[in-house]
């Protein structure tokens, strides 16, 4: 049995000639916190909407918790908490929404409702339309958590929230949910937040997955080399990007930085420094490029 709770193969969504998602190959490991990052309009939300069955794929397949998204949508929805839009039924209060949701989910837990309503300080007697954005998001998350899902799929969960609310949500997600060995797939364009909590990242741009890797592997293998020299190669097999400015050439490599440094040194170049890269730098290198590199999976 596959240890991926989400797998997509050649998943594509087209709107006329525009490919919002273009042949997406993605795998989310069981028990991981997967940060799905990309710029606005990169295809994150469209992908998550296809996983939730809200949008139909033009082609390709998606499997969630071992079930085919097209065929067993109800089974998937019973075991997965989706927070795609933070708009619920506007006239219902938090208590109404709890009552409304309870009957849909066999694993519904009223204890979790009480616990998170208190911990997150959500006014449960106020109509949804009268809640602040922060409370709306918290209520959406509460409802998803109370269904006791195996997988939580969140689309930009902290968008528009202040740092205090963001911190509250992140704590709940990481300390309560993910620590139980359950999986989170979370889209975001807040790279620092993803870097803080995720253990896997997928970077999507123009509908294509540019990178899927463990965050630890990125931290330990990805390097920036700053080199001075003449007739330096403009590309190498290891390099994701090569750029030159003011006589200094920079190589961003996904692995083998030491080997490349040695090779360049043997050609007479001077390697000024070899620097680790953070997620933000990797993201800018990949998404800032004019031509995309093929998807790279680091085990």
């Amino acid at each position: 049995m596959s240890d991926f709770v989400v797998e997509t193969h050649a998943l594509t969504k087209r709107y006329g000639s525009l490919a919002a998602v273009d042949g997406l190959e993605m795998g989310v490991e069981r028990g991981s916190i997967y940060g799905f990052i990309g710029r606005n309009g990169a295809g994150k939300t469209t992908t998550l909407r296809m996983l939730a069955g809200l949008s139909q794929a033009t082609s390709g397949t998606a499997r969630i918790l071992g079930m085919e998204a097209k065929r067993d949508q109800v089974g998937i929805l019973e075991r997965t908490g989706f927070v795609i839009d933070t708009t619920l039924l506007p006239w219902m209060t938090g208590k109404d929404l709890v009552r409304f949701n309870r009957g849909f989910f066999p694993g519904w837990d009223d204890g979790l409702v009480r616990r998170y309503a208190e911990a997150l300080d959500i006014p449960m007697n106020r109509a949804f339309k009268r809640l602040s954005q922060g409370n709306r998001t918290k209520l959406c998350l509460l409802l998803a958590l109370a269904q006791n899902p195996e997988l939580l799929v969140l689309d930009e969960p902290t968008a528009g929230l202040d740092p205090v609310v963001t911190d509250q949500l992140v704590r709940v997600l990481v300390e309560d949910f993910a620590n139980d060995g359950r999986t989170i797939l979370m889209s975001s364009h807040h790279l620092s937040e993803v870097e803080r909590i995720a253990d896997w990242v997928g970077i999507i741009d123009k509908g294509r997955l540019l990178l899927e890797a463990r965050l630890d592997d990125i931290r330990s293998n990805y390097r920036r080399l700053r080199v001075v020299g003449e007739r330096l190669p403009r590309s190498t097999p290891e390099a994701l990007a090569v750029s030159s400015a003011e006589g200094v050439t920079e190589y961003v490599v996904k692995a083998g930085a030491e080997g490349l440094a040695a090779e360049l040194g043997s050609q007479g170049a001077i390697v000024l420094e070899v620097l680790p890269l953070n997620l933000s730098e990797i993201f800018l290198v990949l998404v800032g490029k004019e031509s995309h590199v093929p998807v790279e999976v680091l085990a």
Partner: protein, 254 residues
């Protein structure tokens, strides 16, 4: 749970319709019957008119009720939330449908009971042998008022079902409760088109409200031919709207 949601959204409309019904009942209890001196065929016309009078308020209620449910939720931006509950999309639609038509059935029945009771009072006040019975020109035997009321209730219910269906389908198509406007437009277009076709080509398109009586200038003749078949066909047409709505709903991106 979902039934409760539908009820919460539609209860004001239902409540207003019930208040109107209560008001009419109170008025008729306090009123005096002034019609007298009619022959039995004139009574048949009066009864016919009174029973059909229930169609007007019912049509308005059906028009409003058609805008509740999935289409409204889509318009409010809650579609993603609703359809990420573990049920097929059709499940929501058919529950909307069942609730809406259930409320309409209750109202149609009550309104018809009221109007038939009022008709009965008029007939009783008129005296004579036709109390509780309605005589038609082409029928040898008079028909009981209860029988007529039942047929009328079915005809008005099917009429409301068509209005409800058209509006509901439009709310899905435009993903908004504003489907009520499109629905009203569609129904108005049908009525105008029927009139134009009748005027220019002499062909009569089916009325939205099926009249169970054969009527001509001379008054009410009797019950329509093939009445059961006609009502069954109407019921089939009513059922086509949720089927069409389901096809649309299953294909659209939320």
């Amino acid at each position: 749970m979902y039934l409760w949601k539908y009820w919460r959204e539609s209860r004001i409309t239902f409540g207003i319709a019930m208040l109107l019904l209560a008001g009419l009942t109170a008025l008729s209890l306090r009123g005096h019957v002034v019609i007298g001196g009619l022959d039995e065929r004139q009574y048949a016309n009066v009864v016919n008119g009174m029973l059909y009078a229930a169609a007007v308020p019912m049509a308005i209620v059906a028009w409003v009720l058609g805008s509740f449910g999935v289409g409204r939720s889509l318009g409010e931006g809650a579609g993603s939330y609703l359809f990420s509950r573990p049920r097929p999309r059709a499940w929501f639609l058919w529950l909307d449908w069942g609730c809406g038509l259930g409320l309409l059935a209750i109202l149609v029945l009550l309104y018809n009971l009221l109007t038939s009771w009022m008709a009965h009072r008029i007939m009783r006040a008129g005296g004579g042998p036709f109390s509780g019975q309605v005589s038609f020109r082409d029928l040898a035997e008079p028909v009981s008022l209860i029988h007529l009321m039942g047929l009328n209730a079915i005809a008005i219910f099917l009429f409301c079902g068509i209005i409800f269906g058209v509006v509901y389908l439009w709310t899905i198509l435009v993903k908004n409760a504003l489907g009520v406007v499109m629905g009203a437009g569609t129904l108005a277009c049908y009525v105008i088109l029927s009139a134009v076709i009748k005027h220019n080509f002499g062909y009569e398109m089916p009325d939205l409200l099926y009249r169970v009586y054969a009527i001509s200038l001379g008054g009410v003749h009797g019950l329509q031919d093939h009445l059961g078949l006609s009502l069954a066909l109407r019921a089939g047409i009513v059922a086509l709207f949720p089927i069409a709505a389901q096809q649309v709903l299953n294909r659209i991106d939320i």
